[in-house]
Assembly symmetry: C2
Homo-oligomer: 214 residues x 2
Amino acid sequence: MPETVARIASRAERKERTRQRLLDVTLEFIEKRSLAGISLREVAREAGIVPTAFYRHFESMDALGVELVDESMRPLRQMIRDARRGSPTHQDIIKNTVEILGRQVREHKAEFRFLSRERYGGIAAVRRAIATELRLFTSELTVDLARITAGAGWSSYDLEMTADLMVAAMLAAVMELLEAEARHAEDERTILDRSERQLRLIALGMSVWHSATD
Amino acid sequence: MPETVARIASRAERKERTRQRLLDVTLEFIEKRSLAGISLREVAREAGIVPTAFYRHFESMDALGVELVDESMRPLRQMIRDARRGSPTHQDIIKNTVEILGRQVREHKAEFRFLSRERYGGIAAVRRAIATELRLFTSELTVDLARITAGAGWSSYDLEMTADLMVAAMLAAVMELLEAEARHAEDERTILDRSERQLRLIALGMSVWHSATD
DNA sequence: GCTTTCAGTGCACGCTCGTACACTCAATAG
DNA sequence: CTATTGAGTGTACGAGCGTGCACTGAAAGC
């Protein structure tokens, strides 16, 4: 019989909490090592359960990794939503987007590190999950670009090509931000400034694209 | 006493050959897994020596990984040399470069896969070695861009920013080429064509950069 | 209130792992 | 010819791994 107000965690709640602990613990380990180098036993140990209890939640570390992709993509999806609520003019969109990018990376380092570390990492299933999500991200951006360039005669092929380039530029910035953190080689501002200029360079290319290729 | 013509492998030659076998075997394993998931024992086994003999060549798998970076960078360096022996006009440079990129990736898949897999992988020393080499690559490209845009009033800061963007675009293409191989999602021609368009878009942006920012 | 469910336990197993140590024996050096 | 060197051997160890299996005990279902 379910109480109207559960004063103490129910069975399902407790399970969910343990599951979340497993995911969180793995995310912490990712800071130093890659998924392939993290054992089921140490994750279970750190989460405070016995190794065999791990199987109540995931059938393997690889499966946990795939779930973690979803989990980690949330900040990225939030980023799109934030960026869309942005300002009207071209240049402002870029400035705004880069700023949001910087903030999201700062606030969700572990998630972004996981995604960049495993994007081309050793576990095929995880790679595939990340690739799928990023393709979604690119197609979202393509839609935005289509809206912005409406009536300017852009083919969907070229729009996607451009979105792809922009995503590549932004992901490169993300990775540099994560690396810079640890090595103090360049500070955040420098990286974001460069990224902003790169996106503006691309936008500039777009503005003369058809006059050069038509 | 060294013979004038060594008919049978000398001691040093034999050692070098074993060392190379260890590197090659590791490169083969990288196709399926990341460095962190490859054990010293299996590398030794596959190379035909006993595990403890591994230490005659490298002090750990991590150290072998760092050496492998050098080894794998050779095709990339060759790429620069090939591209520079290229043609004079702007558009031809891009077409030519992308073609060379495609060929190098096709001919040196394993090396490129190693670099992309470990670029943000779990071993800090390997990450650092790759980052250093790639920074060198970017600065080479910056020099080329400086030569091409000589007298057009480009700051070295903006040149580097642009080179950085171009490298990001090319690396993204490399990674897609490697992924496509296994999944047949897109064929090589499509990816290279897109990459060519992306570089051309950037070049177009460059041609109007100063009129827009000065 | 009795029964069922199931998250978490505890033990045991057969592996593989990195590495220490003493060794062999052919190529090299003097 | 003899002595040295050093790449590769063989054994052995302790530790950690993934996982199978029988279990416990509290919450949920009826």
